[in-house]
Every structure is written in structure tokens, then in C-alpha cells.
Amino acid sequence: MIYRLCLAAVLAAAPSWAAAHQLVVFASVDCSAVTVEAKFSNGRIAQQGDIRILDADNALLQTLSLTETGTAIVPLEGIDTSAGLVVEVDTGSHENYWIVTPEDIARNCGS
């Protein structure tokens, strides 16, 4: 009986626990690379996950993985950044994105 009550309490708490952990994605850009950072809203680093780089038409340009520091560096060589980029991070259980505009790139590239 006590076990059932405990289980019920855990299950009842589960939705709020899940909702409390959101993935936060940030990307900064310079002339040569996009640096992606991902962590959960409780401060925990997202150590695993797929990163997808998309163009302005949502066409997939590149995929790579998060490192255990919750970051990844995406070299821009060979990527057309003229219309900006969308960085998506998917940890399997959570996903989020960051938008990099052409103006962000120009601003951080000394233009």
C-alpha cells in the first residue's frame, strides 16, 4: 500500500519535474566558426546531443555532436552563411534552437 502511494506520488510529480528541465541553446559566431553551447535550465550541462545546422530555408547543411562540455564548434568553411543559420540541438529528450542572422555574422566578423 505504502509502495503504491509512493509510486503515485512520484508519478504525480513527474510532469512538473519534466517541465522544469528545458534545454537552453546559445550560439555565438565569428568569421570562421559558430560556437554552440547547450545546457538545461537547471544548470546541468547537456553532454550528449545532435546538432543540426540549417539554412534559411530549413535545409540541413551539417550535423555534428555535442561534446561532454556541452559545446561544439561548427567551422563555417564551405557553409553559405549569407542568409543566416539555424542551430538546432536535440538531446533525445529535449530540443531547442538558436537563430543566427546574417547581421549577427557581419557584426561579429568586423563588418
Binding site: P15, S16, A18, A19, A20, V24, V25, A56, A83, G84, L85, V86, E95, N96, Y97, W98, I99, V100, T101, P102, E103, D104
Partner: protein, 300 residues
């Protein structure tokens, strides 16, 4: 240069000057319709007001395109609702000096909400934990948001300050009148329990002393069997006889809830511009519909 050529050159110069002037109009981006409406009332034709979210997308969970963000970055003002509304603003770089959180002075009035995770549309899974967002459904809070917009427009010198504050005064009088009329009209409904298909009406309910329980249904969609069962349970729990929809649902949905003994009311939240009506008129029309629904209950 003959006369005809001079005339053409003159016309071209005029056209070019007008084009340049059009391009130089201040650009204001708003994250929802009420903020766009208040900005339009305050600055009139002196600026372009842009609310970029497509009509069929919930602005709270809109995922903008890159061009949308470029436009926002170039805007003179970006009007934010605050209160956890518009998640996209945390996923882009926006110029801080041009961001206006229209509810930063209203945080004491915020309503904390329960945490419920769900998903609808293509916005992905999300939760309503945190703070209720639809501040503008309380005209006194809407007035506070309008005041913040006026101050930002004046501070950035986008239009003559005297004009802005004169328009703010007029808008304030209209919002006060709307608030007063709404409170008077709804006072007899203080003991009438209601259910909303989505948790949108917290500020409206509090301001007017109403009790509105909430479901988590998709806007404008027909409820499933399970959702109807939830509704039946909530009816038993609250004794509610009025069901508030934020958007017009399919006829079959209206019929199904009517068969449960509910009177349906569509009360647009105005997060998007209501069709044919502005903020004030839509608000007033919805209040009238609520009163009529309560009248139907009492005659049944």
C-alpha cells in the same frame, strides 16, 4: 533641357524622396496583437507597426524565420509582453537598447500558474508553468503596457512626445471605461462557475471576480473522447455551465459540449487581431456574449 525632360526628372526626384522617407519611417515590432494595437494608437501613422506571427500560429510558441529576426534586429523598438510570453525572444540576439518589456512595472500583479507539460501544433512540447501571460485581458494591466510603450516611443524620439502622451491619455480613458463597464456587467456572475478550454483568462477572471477553471484543449480543435471525459469531471467538480473557447471550434464540438448541458461562448483572447474588430470592440463583444450565456443558464 526641354520642359518634358525637366518634368520627368522632377517626378523621379519626388518619387525617390518619397521612397526614402517611407524607408525612414520608424519600425516597431510587437510580439502580440494587443501590443501592436496600443503602439498603433499611440504613434498613429508615424511608424510601421509589425506583428510578424502568422494567423494560424500561437505567438507564444512561434518559431521565427531568419528574415523575421533580421527585421526585428533592425527595428527601432521591439515590444515584448514579458510574463514568459514569446519563447523565441530567448533564442536570438536582439539589441537590448531597443527592447521594451511592457510589463516590467507590472510584475507584482503577475499570476503564478501550475506546471503542465503538453504539446500542440508544430511548436513542440511546452509547459504553462511559471506566469500567466495574457495580461491584456485585464484592461488595467493593458493600460500599464500602453504606458510603457508610450514612454519607450517618447524616449527614442520616434514621434513628438506631446502627441504620444495626448494619445495615451485618450487610450487610457477608453481602457478605464472598458474596465469599469466590464466589472459592472460581470458583477452578477461572481457565483457563476465557468470552464475555459485553455488557461488564458486568469487576469480577466481575477479582475472581474470570476471563477474560471481551465482545460488544456487545442485552440479551435474538436475535443477527443478523453477530453470530453475530463470536461465532464470538471463540470461535476465546479458545477460550471459555461464553456469558454478561445477560438471558434468545429460545429460538432459545440454540439457535443451543448449536449453535456454547457452554454458555449467564444471569447477571442486577441493574441492575434480579431477579425473585423479591434481590441476594445472585441473585448466588449466577448463580455456581452458572456452575459448572454449566463442569461441562457438562468432561463434553462
Amino acid at each position: 533641357m526641354n520642359k518634358a525632360l525637366k518634368y520627368i526628372v522632377g517626378l523621379l526626384a519626388l518619387f525617390t524622396a518619397q521612397s526614402l522617407m517611407a524607408d525612414e519611417r520608424p519600425q516597431i515590432v510587437a510580439v502580440n496583437y494587443p501590443l501592436a494595437y496600443f503602439a498603433e494608437r499611440l504613434i498613429g501613422d508615424d511608424a510601421d507597426i509589425n506583428f510578424p506571427v502568422p494567423q494560424d500560429v500561437d505567438p507564444s510558441f512561434w518559431r521565427p524565420g531568419i528574415a523575421d529576426i533580421s527585421a526585428a534586429q533592425a527595428a527601432d523598438l521591439i515590444l515584448l509582453n514579458g510574463a514568459s510570453f514569446a519563447t523565441w525572444i530567448d533564442r536570438v540576439s536582439l539589441p537590448r537598447s531597443r527592447l521594451v518589456n511592457t510589463s516590467s512595472a507590472l510584475t507584482d500583479a503577475f499570476i503564478q500558474t501550475e506546471s503542465i507539460t503538453h504539446s500542440h501544433g508544430d511548436g513542440g512540447e511546452h509547459s504553462h508553468e511559471g506566469v500567466a501571460s495574457y495580461l491584456w485581458l485585464d484592461p488595467t494591466l493593458a493600460k500599464g503596457q500602453a504606458e510603457a510603450i508610450a514612454a519607450a516611443i517618447a524616449r527614442r524620439d520616434l514621434a513628438p512626445a506631446n502627441d504620444i502622451y495626448a494619445r495615451l491619455e485618450r487610450l487610457g480613458v477608453e481602457l478605464d471605461a472598458l474596465d469599469s463597464a466590464t466589472r459592472d456587467s460581470l458583477a452578477p456572475l461572481s457565483d457563476t462557475a465557468m470552464i475555459a478550454t485553455h488557461p488564458r483568462y486568469q487576469y480577466f477572471a481575477r479582475r472581474n471576480g470570476l471563477t474560471i477553471a481551465s482545460l488544456e484543449w487545442d485552440a479551435g480543435a474538436a475535443p477527443t473522447k478523453e477530453e470530453l471525459a475530463d470536461l465532464t469531471s470538471l463540470m461535476t467538480e465546479t458545477d460550471a455551465r459555461i464553456l469558454i473557447w478561445e477560438a471558434e471550434p468545429p460545429q460538432a464540438a459545440l454540439q457535443a459540449t451543448q449536449e453535456l448541458g454547457l452554454v458555449n461562448v467564444v471569447f477571442p483572447t486577441m493574441v492575434h487581431a480579431p477579425s473585423d474588430l479591434d481590441y476594445l470592440d472585441s473585448f466588449e463583444a466577448s463580455v456581452t456574449d458572456l452575459i448572454e450565456a449566463a442569461g441562457q443558464i438562468s432561463t434553462n
